[in-house]
């Protein structure tokens, strides 16, 4: 017998209906927040960033690829990494098949990282992704968005006890802790209007969960995420599950 409360179909339906009311409330609130996101002021991007793409050096405006909106996922793959962050890679797994649907809504979705382009492209091939991936090479693009931290800024963190997850992830990327945490994950959104690029939205941390498809699904399973008390992350690159 399961330890969980067992009920009749009727009991379940009563509880389910009650929950449904709350779920609908949450969905409507989510719609409101999406509206508020769109109402943020647009900020013209005045700096001339350059990016390395498979077909050469590009400006931020070039990355729109003929569309009016651009979504960039800032994938943690720093210059010292030998492979992308496993958590970011799980996000890229969600992003990749969605790029084609976003294109149909006038949105170009790409990834951006600080490692040299050849490293990014080799890893993209390993992961089987097809989105455009740009290297910021020497530009301050990620830094200006708050997704790069200097050793000086990281000092208080590095002097404390390093969480096991951070060690785990640094090792998975074949870099050290400083190299790993110098990078931060993020999602940023842009509009192109009359040749001017505007920054419209930026998010990080749990704000990235919409791009972590498995979490929304786990939230609907009997056991949920059940991550409480786990010292390291259960997430692996999709070709590394089952490997020790």
């Amino acid at each position: 017998m399961p330890e969980h409360k067992v009920g009749t179909r009727e009991e379940w339906e009563v509880a389910r209906d009650e929950l449904l009311t709350k779920e609908k409330e949450l969905t409507r609130r989510n719609d409101e927040l999406a509206q508020e996101r769109r109402e943020l002021p647009w900020v013209p991007v005045e700096k001339d960033y350059s990016f390395e793409r498979e077909d050469g050096t590009k400006s931020l405006a070039d990355l729109f690829d003929g569309r009016s909106q651009l979504l960039i996922y800032h994938l943690m793959f720093g210059p010292s990494y030998e492979a992308g962050c496993p958590v970011c890679s799980s996000i890229a797994d969600t992003l990749d098949p969605n790029a084609i649907h976003l294109r149909a809504r006038d949105v170009t979705l790409i990834c951006s990282s600080r490692a040299p382009l050849d490293k990014l492209l080799a890893y993209r091939q390993r992961m089987g992704w097809s989105f455009d991936w740009v290297s910021t090479a020497g530009s301050d693009f990620h830094r200006d968005l708050g997704f790069v931290h200097t050793e000086e800024e990281l000092k208080p963190f590095l002097e404390g006890e390093i969480p096991p997850t951070v060690n785990q992830m640094a090792e998975a990327c074949s870099t050290d802790v400083v190299g790993y945490v110098s990078e931060g994950p993020g999602l940023s959104a842009y509009a192109l209007s009359d040749g001017t690029v505007y920054q419209t939205y930026v998010t990080t941390a749990r704000g990235l969960e919409p791009a972590m498809g498995y979490y929304g699904l786990l939230d609907r399973t009997p056991m949920g995420r059940h991550e409480e008390g786990e010292q390291t992350s259960w997430l692996r690159r999709h070709d590394e599950y089952g490997k020790t």
Binding site: K22, L40, P41, W42, D219
Partner: protein
């Protein structure tokens, strides 16, 4: 020129921080609902459904799938 409200980085940041509070609140509400979902009673499935799989096997009753 765009017809959308254009602002400075500082104006954007102030509005973004305000929105972030609301986003976090919403996130926590989502966590609470996920927890409530897990608290729903489990209902034993008593009907014997039969399924066909890609490799031609027939599975049933349902308990056989979990075995």
């Amino acid at each position: 020129m765009t017809t959308h409200t254009v602002g400075t980085r500082e104006e954007w940041l102030a509005a973004r921080k305000e929105l972030l509070k609301a986003e976090k609140e919403h996130m926590r509400r989502g966590d609470e609902l996920a927890r409530r979902r897990q608290e729903l009673p489990w209902v034993p499935v008593e009907k014997e459904y039969v399924f066909e799989t890609a490799d031609g096997r027939r599975w049933g009753p349902i308990a056989g799938i979990a075995r």
